[in-house]
Symmetry: C2
C-alpha cells in the first residue's frame, strides 16, 4: 500500500471512518510571530541558546570535530553514538530561525555543519561517526541500542527544515542518499529485513521526507518499520544472537536478559503498536513512535492505526501525564510508570518527552480536529516544555520534577544533550504548532499573536492581537485576499476554546455569538464568507483556579495545584518564610494576582499557613510528640516554567491543602 | 598502643574522660528467652529461615558448591565476590541458635559448611573463592571494591559465635590463620601497608577476634585500618594506579572518576573518621565502621574517637534516621542523603543498615550507659529491622520504604543476599542486645522476658515477666546467688525508661519508687544489696500516641505517624475502602485499640476520613476543577514491621492529617 498526499496542499483523510478534513501545520513564514510572551523567548533562543549550543558542540573533540573523522582508537573524546542527532537538532532549530530572521553568521555556521556532515558521509551514503571511526565493521548490527536510525531521523528533520528555510538541498541530498541506503538495507531480502530502530525517530522523519520529496518509498519504509516493531520472533533477540554480544547498553542494563519483557516494553517492541493497550517504556521513544503512527494513520487513512493512537493517547493523558504536561515518571527507564504513579519530587518528566507529547498532540489535533489534543499540547508547551530552559536560555533541565528539596538546578549541558537543542527547535518552529489549515479552514490551536497567512478560502491574512497568556482576550482581524467580485468562498475560522476556560465570550464585529451553538469538539467554528476587516474577539477566562488530581495520584493526595489560563503555578521557598513543603493553602482562601517580573505573567497570591520551622525557635529531636506551630504565610505561586531561576530553593506544584 | 580488656570480664573505660563503668553484653546462654513476642519469632528463624537460607546456598553452583573450588573459566555460576559472607552470616546465626537450642541436623550442616571453608583455605591461610578460582592472581589488589576483608570479617564473627556456642575451634583456627596472613600483608612494610577494605566489617570483627583469643595483634590491625582510612594520599587511588583498571565496580559507577569526592564519601574514606562531621555514604559501611570505632574507643579509652562517634551519632539520629529506625535514604548509593531528606515511598532504608544501627547503638549504650542509644536500638529493632522479614520468615525486604503504591513486596532471595542472614543472626543473638552487665550492674536495654543470669554483685538470676510490647508492664524478680552470710555485695539493676513512655511507674516489692530520683540518663538505677525474691515492677506507658517529624522532613509535612510503645504503625490499603494515601486522620480523633492477630500486637483504630475514589462513582479527567468527595473512613493502623504480609497493598507510615 502506497499513498502519499501532496505535501504542499492538505487533503482530506482517505478512509471513511477517519475524521473529516484533516489539517496541516502552517509554514514557518506563514506566521509572523509578534507576541508579548513568545517573541522575547524566541529571541532568547536565537541570541543566547543557539550560540551557546553551537559553542558546546564546537569544543575540541566534541560534535563538530568528530565529524572530521580524525578520531583514532586510543584518542580522547571517543565520538558518542548519537552526536549527529545533537548537530541535526541544532541545524533544524537554526534553520527555522533563519526562515524568519536572517542572520549571516548563524547561516554560515549551519552551512559549515552541513559541509561537515556531507564530508563524513561514506561513498555508499552511510553517515555515522561512531560506526565509521570507532566500530567501523559494526553498522546496523545493534539496532536496539546504537541509535543509528535515530540519528538519521534527526538529520532528515534537519534537512527538511533547512530546505524549507533556505531552499537549498545541500543537506536534503545527503540524507536522501543515506535514506536510500537504509531503504535498501531494510528492504525485503536485505540484511536488515524486518528491523527497526531501538529509539524511534526515523519513522516520523521518513514521513517528513516523503512529504518533502514526494517520494512514496520513504513512507513505505516508515510503514514497514512501524508494522514490524513488536512482531515475533523479536528482531532484537535474533540480532543479539547473530551479533553475539550484549549490545551498547548491555552494561547499563545488566538485567535485560532476566527482565526481557520489561526491556521489550522499554522501546515499545513488546507488541505491535496496533495491539498495544497501555503506553509503556521510554517516554521519548513512545512519543516519537506515536507521532509517526498518527502521521501514518493520516497518510494511509488507516483507521486501525488511528484507533491504536487514540487508545494510547487515553492511556497517556488520562493516567500517566503530569499536570505540567510532563510524561515519563520513572527515572530508572526515563519512561512511563504504572497508571497514576506520578511522583513529584522523585519523578522524571524529561523535557524531550514533553516536547514529544507536543509533537504527537499536534498531529492528533490536525488529524482529528479535536481540541482535546490541542489542550494537552498547550499544557505541555507552557509548562513542562518551557521549564526545560532557564529564563536566559543557557541552562537546561533534563528531568522536570514537580517538587524539589532545593538541590535541583539546571545544567549548562549534558553528556547526553538531547533536550537543549530539542527545546530550541520546538520554539523556533512554534508557527507549526500554533496554527493549521485545511482547504476551507484556518485553525488557531494556540493563541500566539502576530500576522497569519492562510490559503483557506482562496487566501486571507489574519491579524492576531493578544496579551495571552497574561490576559485572556484575543482579537483577530480577518483580511481576505482581494479577488474577483463574487469569487469569495466561505471558510471556517476555528478558535480553540480551552477546557480550562470556565466562561468564554465570543464576539464578531462586536456582536455576541452563542458559543455553544458554534462550538464543535473544543473549537468555536465560525464559517462565513469573510468581509475584509471583520473583527473576532475571544474572551477566555484566565482567572486563577484550583486543580485537583484523580484520587489515585498519591503524590497529589491532600494537595491542590494552582492554574491560570494554561499556566500551572508552583510555590518556591524563596518567596516564603518556610520551605515549600511547609506551606498550606486553605480551600476557602481567595486567589489574587500580583505582577511577577521574572515570568512576565501574574503570580497568584493567597492567605495561607506554614509550619514554623526550626529557625523559628523550635528545637529538639527528629521525631516528637508535639506538632509544629502553625503561622500565617502569604502564599505566592509563580509560573512553574520559571522556577529555579532565583538560586536553589525548595519548590512544589502540589500544595498542601487544608 | 596496645590495650585489650580481658574478654571474659568487663572492665571500666580506660580514660578519665570516658563515661564510667562500661558494660558488656550478656552471653547467649546467660539469657533464656521466654517471651510472648520474641520466642515465636526466634522459633520461626530456627525452623523456617535458617533451613530456607541453607537451601538457597545449597543450590547447584551457589555458595556451598563454590567453596569446593571446582569452578573453571567458562563455567556457569561464577562465584560471587562476597558469597563467603553469606555462608558466614548463616553459620553465625545457626551457631547462636545452637547455643540455646540443640539441633543435630543444623549442627551437621554448620560443620559441613565449616569443612568446606577449611577445604577452600589456601596453604598460606588465604580464603576467598573468587580470588582463588576466578581471578587467582589478583588478591588484595582491589580493596575498594572486592570485599575480601568484608568476607573475612563475617567469617571471624561466625567463628567467634561458633566457638562460643560449641566450644569448637574448627572455624576459629581457619580465620586466625587467614587473619594472621592479613596482619602480615597489611603490616608496616607489607604489600598492603596503609590499606583498608572498601566495605567496612573487618574492623569490628577484629575486635571480636582479639577479645575471643586475647591476642592484641588483631586489635592493633583494627586500629591501623580505622586510622588509615581517609588519610592522604588516598589508598584507593594509589591502588587503582598500581592496578591499572577501574576495579570490580568500575562499570557500576562509571562516574566515579568525575565524582571522586562523592565516591570517597561512599565508603567513608574521604576523611579520617576522627575528622568526620556528618554521616555520609553507604549506610551499612558507615554503621559497621562506627561500631568498630565505638569498640576501639572503649578498648583504648580513646576520648577523641568516642567524640567522633558521638558527633556522627547525632548526625545520624537527629537528621538522617527514619521514624522506623531505618537509615540510608538514597537508593542510588544505598546510603545517606542530605540531612532531613527522608523520602517515604522513594527512600531506601536497607534492612542491613537498620541492623548496623542496632549493632552500633548497642556498643554506644554499653560504652556510655546512656539510654538515648538504647532508645534508638529499640526503635530500629522493632520496626525497620523486623520489617525485613515476612511473618513466616521466608521472604525478605532489602529496602524498607515508609510508603508503597502497592507494588512493593518481599523476595525469597537476592543476587546480593546480605540482608536475610544478617536478620537471622541478629534475632538468634538477641540476648546480646537485650541485656548487659558490668561488675556491679545488670542493665536491661530491651524488655525481653525470660531468665537472666548475671555475674553482677557476685551473681544473681533475674526472672523477667512481661507481655511487652503488647503491654507495658514488666515484672522482674531478683534472686541473688546464695553466698556466705554477709558477703552479699550491693549492685545496680538498671532499667531503661524509654523516652516514648510519657508516664512510667516503678515499684519495688509493691512500694512506689520516685522515678526521677533514681533515673540517670534514661535508666532507672536501683542500687542495693538484693534480697532474694525482690520484685521490681516497671509500668511503661504504651498508650498509642501521635508522632510528628521535624518540619524539615518534607515527606512528613502535613502528616502524622502513630506509635504505641516502641512500635511504629502504618496503614495498609487492605484495611481501608480507599488507598492508604487517601486516608486522613483528624488531629482531634481519639486512638483506640483492637486485636491484630497477624502481628500479635494491638492495632490502632481512629475515626478518619478518606477521598472517595473512582470506584465510588467519580469519573473524568486526570486533573479537575472539583475536589474529591470526602467520606468517613475507619482508620486501622497495624505495626509497620508486619506490613505487606497480606498481599499487595498500598501502605503509609506518615498519615495525612487534618
Amino acid at each position: 500500500m502506497t499513498t502519499l498526499s501532496d505535501p504542499r496542499t492538505p487533503t482530506p483523510g482517505s478512509a471513511a471512518d477517519l475524521p473529516g478534513a484533516r489539517l496541516s501545520p502552517l509554514g514557518l513564514r506563514d506566521v509572523v510571530v509578534d507576541d508579548a510572551f513568545w517573541a522575547p523567548r524566541r529571541e532568547v533562543v536565537r541570541t543566547r541558546t543557539l550560540p551557546q549550543q553551537e559553542a558546546q558542540m564546537r569544543q575540541p573533540g566534541k560534535q563538530f570535530d568528530a565529524l572530521r573523522l580524525t578520531w583514532r582508537p586510543g584518542d580522547p573524546d571517543e565520538p558518542h553514538i548519537f552526536w549527529e542527532s545533537d548537530v541535526a537538532k541544532w541545524i533544524e532549530a537554526a534553520s527555522c530561525s533563519l526562515a524568519v530572521h536572517p542572520d549571516p553568521d548563524l547561516e554560515a555556521s549551519v552551512e559549515e555543519a552541513i559541509a561537515l556532515l556531507a564530508g563524513a558521509q561514506q561513498d555508499d551514503g552511510y553517515l555515522n561517526t561512531y560506526f565509521t571511526v570507532v566500530r567501523p565493521g559494526d553498522r546496523f548490527t545493534d539496532l536496539r541500542d546504537a541509535h543509528e536510525l535515530y540519528c538519521l531521523g534527526h538529520l532528515i528533520e534537519a534537512a527538511v527544515a533547512h530546505h524549507d528555510a533556505t531552499g537549498r538541498t545541500s543537506l536534503l541530498d545527503v540524507v536522501t542518499r543515506y535514506a536510500d541506503l537504509v531503504d535498501r538495507t531494510f528492504a525485503p531480502g536485505g540484511p536488515c529485513e524486518g528491523g527497526y530502530d531501538g529509539h524511534q525517530e526515523i519513522e516520523l522523519a521518513l514521513v517528513k521526507l516523503a512529504r518533502a520529496t514526494g517520494e512514496p518509498r520513504y513512507l513505505d519504509l516508515c510503514r514497514r518499520m512501524v508494522d514490524a516493531r513488536g512482531t515475533r520472533p523479536f528482531y532484537y533477540e535474533a540480532e543479539e544472537a547473530r551479533r553475539g554480544t550484549a549490545g551498547y547498553f548491555g552494561e547499563v542494563f545488566p538485567h535485560r536478559v532476566q527482565q526481557a519483557e520489561r526491556f521489550r516494553e522499554y522501546n515499545q517492541s513488546h507488541l505491535p503498536v496496533r495491539e498495544q493497550q497501555e503506553v509503556v517504556g521510554h517516554s521519548v521513544r513512545a512519543m516519537y513512535l506515536l507521532s509517526a503512527v498518527t502521521d501514518l494513520a493520516a497518510e494511509d487513512g488507516d483507521a486501525e492505526l488511528l484507533a491504536a493512537a487514540r487508545r494510547l493517547w487515553d492511556s497517556t493523558t488520562r493516567t500517566k501525564t503530569y499536570v505540567t504536561g510532563g510524561v515519563g515518571a520513572d527515572p530508572s527507564i526515563e519512561g512511563f510508570s504504572a497508571p497514576f504513579d506520578l511522583p513529584d519530587e522523585h519523578g522524571y518528566a524529561e523535557t524531550c518527552a514533553a516536547i514529544g507529547l507536543v509533537m504527537w498532540a499536534q498531529r492528533m489535533t490536525n488529524l482529528t480536529r479535536d481540541g482535546e489534543y490541542a489542550d494537552v499540547m498547550e499544557r505541555a508547551l507552557y509548562n513542562g516544555v518551557l521549564s526545560g530552559s532557564s529564563t536566559d536560555g543557557t541552562h537546561y533541565f533534563y528531568g522536570n520534577p514537580l517538587a524539589s528539596d532545593g538541590s535541583v538546578h539546571r545544567h549548562e549541558w549534558f553528556g547526553v544533550a538531547c533536550c537543549p537543542p530539542n527545546l530550541a527547535r520546538l520554539l523556533t518552529s512554534l508557527q507549526h504548532y500554533a496554527y493549521a489549515q485545511g482547504p476551507d479552514e484556518l485553525a488557531v490551536h494556540l493563541y500566539v499573536g502576530g500576522r497569519v497567512r492562510t490559503s483557506a478560502g482562496g487566501g486571507a491574512t489574519v491579524r492576531v492581537e493578544t496579551t495571552y497568556p497574561a490576559g485572556g482576550d484575543v482579537r483577530l482581524t480577518v483580511e481576505p485576499d482581494p479577488g474577483p467580485a463574487g469569487a469569495a468562498t466561505p471558510w471556517t475560522l476555528s478558535l480553540r476554546v480551552p477546557a480550562w476556560s470556565a466562561r468564554t465570550r465570543l464576539l464578531v464585529d462586536g456582536a455576541p455569538v452563542d458559543l455553544d451553538a458554534v462550538t464543535d469538539r473544543g473549537y468555536a467554528r465560525l464559517t462565513r464568507t469573510w468581509r475584509a476587516g471583520t473583527v473576532v474577539e475571544l474572551g477566555l477566562d484566565v482567572e486563577p483556579h484550583r486543580v485537583w488530581a484523580d484520587t489515585r495520584v498519591a503524590a497529589a493526595a491532600g494537595r491542590v495545584a494552582l492554574q491560570r489560563g494554561p499556566i500551572v503555578h508552583c510555590i518556591e521557598g524563596v518567596d516564603h518564610p518556610v520551605p515549600a513543603h511547609s506551606v498550606v493553602l486553605p480551600r476557602e482562601a481567595g486567589l489574587t494576582l500580583e505582577p511577577d517580573p521574572l515570568s512576565g505573567l501574574p503570580a497568584v497570591r493567597a492567605d495561607g499557613f506554614g509550619d514554623l520551622g526550626e529557625e523559628g525557635g523550635r528545637e529538639g529531636d527528629l521525631y516528637r510528640r508535639t506538632p509544629a506551630e502553625v503561622v500565617p504565610v502569604r502564599l505566592r505561586a509563580v509560573p512553574y516554567f520559571s522556577w529555579a531561576n532565583r538560586g536553589r530553593s525548595t519548590m512544589r506544584v502540589w500544595i498542601r491543602e487544608s
